[in-house]
């Protein structure tokens, strides 16, 4: 039993590029949970993940993974984690059986039996070269590798992007199964919010390099709401309550972030439940406040 509470703890993480800054990013992934890391393309998800994995250097801030500092204990941490990207990182002339020999050298805890069980379960051929695999098969292969060395933390960067719904669902089920062991955790970066809505315990929303929201997914969705009203009614809403508003010919859709208080305050208006996708959409336009 490990003695850390958060599988990932990021504090004040900053990295500057020309034209983009990952600005003072802080969030944590509780042990035993799935954190959905959402944001548009170019919002800073991949940069954050690269910093977690020490693939790029940070300008400032601290990162703790599995209770250890990621700079000081880099290799100890990497022995216990798995990273999955949207592209297959293995040479395409190899086959799944040959890959097992390679992975046994890379991971101390490589479990050949688990790996071959996953291959069977995913119906992945053992002797077919990866160049003949479909995108879904390649992703399943990566996940089979990631789950076959007793990793305590999975970091997935857009891993379900571009997959058909059947394969995506199959993969999401595997993640839920993986989380049956409460020592295991997942950071799942995606812009497909429907996937995260299904399985994430927590969500962190990043936009233009800044964290806008981070917390329990259900609470986040419950606390937000959309008021659908006429333009005259929209003008009566306190601007402090508004994240942003979509104006249409018929009226306005207004995203608010404190549904209970707004229900009391604007009792004559109907506040609809919302989704992660809508929250993301309205937060992206928060600076303009009004958009069409």
């Amino acid at each position: 039993m490990s003695n850390y509470q958060n599988a990932i703890e990021i504090n004040g993480l900053t990295r500057k590029y020309d034209g983009f800054t990952l600005d003072n990013v802080s969030f944590s992934v509780p042990k035993g949970s799935i954190m959905g890391f959402i944001g548009q393309n170019g919002a800073g998800k991949t940069t954050t993940i690269k910093l977690l994995l020490n693939l790029i250097t940070k300008d400032s801030g601290t990162i703790k993974m599995l209770g250890m500092d990621n700079s000081q204990h880099e290799y100890k941490i990497k022995e216990q984690i798995s990273a999955v990207f949207d592209e297959l990182p293995f040479h395409e002339v190899l086959n799944a059986r040959q890959l097992s020999v390679v992975m046994a050298d890379i991971f101390k805890e490589w479990d050949k039996k688990t790996y071959f069980d996953y291959l069977d379960r995913f119906s992945l051929p053992q002797k077919k070269k990866f160049r003949e695999f479909s995108k879904g098969m390649k992703m399943k292969l990566q996940i089979a590798v990631a789950l076959s060395h007793k990793a305590k933390l999975l970091i997935m960067d857009e891993a379900t992007t571009g997959l058909d719904p059947v394969v995506r669902n199959e993969i999401l089920d595997i993640f839920l199964e993986y989380l049956q062991d409460e020592e295991n955790s997942i950071l799942l970066s995606s812009h497909i919010t429907t996937d995260l809505e299904k399985i994430a315990d927590n969500v962190t929303f990043i936009d233009k390099g800044r964290i806008l929201l981070s917390g329990n997914k259900d609470e986040t969705v419950e606390n937000h709401g959309v008021i659908k009203c006429r333009k005259a009614e929209y003008n009566d809403i306190d601007p402090d309550d508004i994240i942003s508003a979509r104006l249409t010919d018929f009226g306005a859709e207004v995203m608010i972030n404190d549904k209970k208080s707004c229900q009391r305050k604007y009792s004559g208006l109907i506040i609809d439940n919302t989704t992660l996708e809508e929250i993301m959409l309205f937060y992206v336009h928060r600076q303009k406040k009004e958009w069409t």
């Binding site: 100890k76 990497k78 990182p89 293995f90 040479h91 395409e92 020999v101 050298d105």
Partner: protein
């Protein structure tokens, strides 16, 4: 490290098979020519025989260069590793940058050693067929050539770790070879002129006499030290290049 070596072996295997085929064809043809010179029709044409007898000692060492050249796929896969994301994948695991570089150098070393043994076997067979028993000279020449090939291989790999694209590596290598060529060619031309038709042209004969006379006793040692220096410097520079994180 054996898994990483296995990975590279599986990727480059096709190229090595081709390398063996080219070498086998070259060896077969050259052995047949040699046998023909000694026992066949070519021996009846005294002019051709004289020319070929003089050229043959050089031809037999060409084999030493063919295998490493045809099997230079190991250098190519460093870029393939970068492009497929394999190096990035390794960096997300507990595999250290030193281990990645060491494996590449080790694999290249093994391939050149295998090539060296094949070359040596081939040259010995040719010598037996020719009735030439100067094995000491033979061993030395093959070792020197393979040593130089190994240094070149390590240098090439270092460039591939440092530079971002193949074109830069090729240009730099052409530059280095060009400089070496400019330095050596006038001496070689002069020497060839002076030699006229010789009984045996060895590696040493292609170098300026004065220089060669001085370094000849230490040639193997110089090559050995050269390999160590290029390997150590190349390794350290490559590891540094790997550790240099993305900007």
């Amino acid at each position: 490290m054996k898994g990483l070596l296995y990975n590279d072996y599986r990727i480059t295997r096709k190229f090595y098979v081709m390398g063996f085929l080219y070498c086998g064809m070259f060896a077969l043809v050259s052995i047949l020519i040699r046998m023909s010179m000694l026992y066949g029709n070519i021996a009846h044409d005294s002019e051709t025989l004289a020319t070929m007898q003089n050229d043959f000692p050089l031809i037999r060492y060409l084999m030493c260069l063919i295998f490493p050249l045809t099997s230079s796929a190991e250098g190519e896969i460093i870029f393939a590793d970068k492009n497929t994301g394999w190096l990035r994948f390794c960096q997300t695991t507990a595999v250290t940058d030193k281990r990645i570089v060491a494996e590449k150098f080790c694999f290249r070393f093994i391939t050149v050693i295998v090539a060296y043994l094949i070359d040596l076997g081939y040259v010995v067979i040719l010598n037996i067929l020719s009735g030439d028993m100067m094995y000491r000279n033979l061993f030395k020449n093959v070792t020197v050539i393979c040593g130089i090939v190994l240094m070149g291989a390590f240098f090439d790999m270092t460039l591939r770790f440092i530079l971002k694209n193949k074109q830069s590596v090729t240009l730099l290598e052409i530059g280095v070879i060009g400089i070496l060529g400019i330095a050596i060619v006038p001496y070689m031309m002069n020497k060839m002129k002076k030699l006229g038709i010789t009984d045996e042209a060895t590696v040493g004969d292609l170098l300026p006499i004065e220089l060669f006379t001085q370094i000849k006793p230490y040639l193997l040692f110089i090559v050995f030290v050269g390999i160590i220096i290029v390997a150590v410097v190349g390794f350290l520079v490559s590891v540094r290049a790997m550790q240099r994180r993305e900007n």
